[in-house]
């Protein structure tokens, strides 16, 4: 930063050149750190409580004596963490993979395929039909999907959730993929066609590898959605062996009642792994989650 603005004579200038930037910078930094700390406080607080005894939580929550791992022992005994993680992982892997594959195929057909008559009317109509789904809140789908799963004999299986998760992901996947595929240079396709490439290889071997950044962004976004999803899970899961992480969390209050320490230990056990994964992939996670809003 240059601080040689001593030539300024405008009457607006109230600063003392050379001094203000440094002091302002220290104050700004202090404020920024304070705000960040306040934002993180709730997360730190439950982590602290997870080491407290129940008596301390109720009477002396700020006391730092008697911290122990007893809550974690109890949480691990009560909670079927493995089942929660396994189910959530199954749902995430299947719905995100299938969702991306079908979305990519559709987006490819909607943007790269050209009919001999040159008309794009059908493609544009289908594209808008799918994009309209962006405006749909999932809550209107809960009861109909519940009935649909029963009618299709899927209720009580992972597919009962995988299908709506795929459906919900299709509009945004299509929005982003068609956006990028439209700008795909025709020359690469033409060169591939001259080399005798068929449609399938064109879509998956030539174009898809170049779409990797978008696909990665969408994959992260979709995994976070499925990982945190609650409304469908609470509506469509009817047996303990299908419990997901979110659904498990919603049952903590019922399971632990007033055993707050164990409840917080359980919350920490699902929170910390997620924060660690976030810390590793934070750049991709942030760009994935803001993909729709930042160009």
């Amino acid at each position: 930063m240059k601080t040689t603005s001593t030539q300024r004579t405008g009457s607006h200038t109230t600063s003392l050149p050379g001094r203000r930037p440094r002091r302002a910078r220290i104050i700004a930094s202090a404020v920024a750190y304070l705000i960040t700390f306040v934002i993180l406080l709730p997360l730190l607080w439950i982590m602290l409580l997870s080491f407290q005894t129940n008596e301390n939580i109720l009477a002396r929550p700020f006391s730092l004596s008697d911290l122990s791992l007893a809550n974690y022992r109890q949480a691990l005994e009560t909670l079927d963490l493995m089942v929660m993680y396994k189910n959530t992982l199954i749902l995430a892997v299947f719905s995100v993979t299938i969702g991306l594959v079908v979305s990519y195929m559709a987006a490819f057909a909607l943007t790269r395929m050209v009919f001999r008559n040159g008309r794009r009317g059908v493609q544009n109509t289908i594209r808008y039909y799918i994009l309209a789904g962006l405006a749909v809140p999932v809550y209107i789908l809960l009861f109909p999907v519940y009935r649909l799963d029963i009618a299709l004999n899927l209720f009580g299986t992972h597919a009962a959730l995988i299908l709506p998760y795929i459906a919900v992901s299709i509009p945004f996947n299509t929005l982003l993929l068609t956006g990028f595929l439209r700008e795909f240079p025709e020359e690469i396709e033409q060169a591939a066609i001259i080399d005798g490439v068929g449609l399938r290889s064109m879509a998956w071997r030539v174009v898809f590898p170049l779409m990797r950044p978008v696909v990665a962004t969408l994959a992260i976004l979709n995994v976070i959605y499925v990982w945190n999803e609650f409304p469908f899970a609470v509506t469509l899961i009817n047996k303990p062996e299908l419990t997901t992480i979110s659904l498990g969390i919603s049952q903590f209050q019922g399971v632990y009642s007033v055993n707050y320490g164990a409840m917080m230990a359980s919350a920490t056990l699902v929170l910390v792994p997620q924060l660690v994964i976030y810390a590793v992939f934070q750049r991709q996670v942030i760009s994935g989650m803001t993909a729709g809003a930042i160009r």
Binding site: R8, I39, M113, I140, L142, L148, L199, M263, I286
Partner: protein
């Protein structure tokens, strides 16, 4: 590409997505709309009753409370979230030391499952076991407000928690927008002797109009999706006083099993949410053009 395009291949490519989307998204919406005009308990066949569910809604005091609470949350979120996020984004885009570490930390609440957020905030807001009242007591303030679970403060608390969860997300969007502002304008204004505040007021804010519009629209649509926070923090209670539209819809449909009335509520939430988002975007665009 027209060498490889046939009607058959095109259909095969598009069919899977179109099928899943139609069966699990479009059909359910039509289903909801249809059943909202009927009387249906899930057992006996639905009978068409026209607008009676919607008329019932007008008389339903709990529905009115839920609309009011949603309105309170919307008002707080719209007036506070974007401006606060903007200030924080400005702060972080200045030369704060370690801004690259602070930004992902500020964003962190956005990746936590909303249901877990609700659970965490019980331990902050609960009148008996919460951090806030413990702090009040520790500094010698005798009042112990019922932040959640009382009769008045719940929607405000829920708005605050929503604010907490979303602020990093909005900060990130605005931060990116601030970084994309053309540098020469700032430099020119510095040479002209503009203060930092004047630059903010007359350059940064007007140039970010579009981003403000996007953020406000995201906040508005987000408010109509709040469900888990209410579910975990208050369960809509006591006696439905803290219900928001979505949580009430859920209660009517899955607890009292009044399916057709629940569907009517879902349709109304859908329509109000969509209209609010369109109005926000449209209004912001017009202001930006003016």
């Amino acid at each position: 590409m027209n060498w490889l395009t046939t009607r058959r291949t095109f259909t095969l490519m598009i069919a899977p997505a179109l099928l899943i989307y139609t069966v699990y998204m479009v059909y359910p919406i039509l289903y909801s709309i249809y059943y909202s005009f009927t009387s249906y308990d899930g057992v006996s066949p639905a009978t068409f009753t026209g607008l009676s569910n919607y008329r019932e809604m007008m008389q339903d005091t709990v529905f009115r409370t839920s609309v009011q609470n949603t309105g309170i949350i919307l008002g707080i979120a719209v007036t506070l979230l974007v401006p606060l996020a903007f200030l924080l984004a400005v702060l972080l885009s200045g030369n704060v030391k370690g801004s690259a570490i602070l930004r992902p930390l500020v964003f962190a609440p956005a990746i936590v499952a909303p249901i877990l957020v609700g659970l965490i905030w019980i331990f902050i807001l609960d009148p008996k076991i919460g951090l806030v009242n413990a702090l009040l007591q520790a500094v010698g303030i005798a009042i112990q407000p019922q932040w959640v679970g009382g009769s008045t403060l719940s929607p405000y608390s829920i708005a605050f928690v929503y604010l907490w969860q979303q602020i990093g997300f909005i900060v990130t969007i605005l931060y990116a927008a601030i970084r994309m502002l053309p540098r020469d304008v700032m430099e020119a204004s510095t040479l002209d002797g503009a203060t930092r505040f004047q630059q903010l007021r007359y350059i940064t804010v007007p140039m970010l109009r579009e981003s403000f519009g996007i953020c406000t629209a995201l906040v508005v649509t987000g408010v109509f999706k709040i469900f888990e926070l209410v579910y975990a923090l208050t369960g809509g209670g006591p006696v439905h006083l803290s219900e928001v539209m979505v949580s009430y819809m859920y209660y009517v449909t899955f607890t009292t099993l009044q399916y057709s009335y629940g569907m009517a509520l879902a349709v109304v939430v859908f329509v109000i949410g969509a209209v609010a988002a369109v109005v926000t975007l449209f209004g912001m665009k017009r202001r930006a053009a003016a």
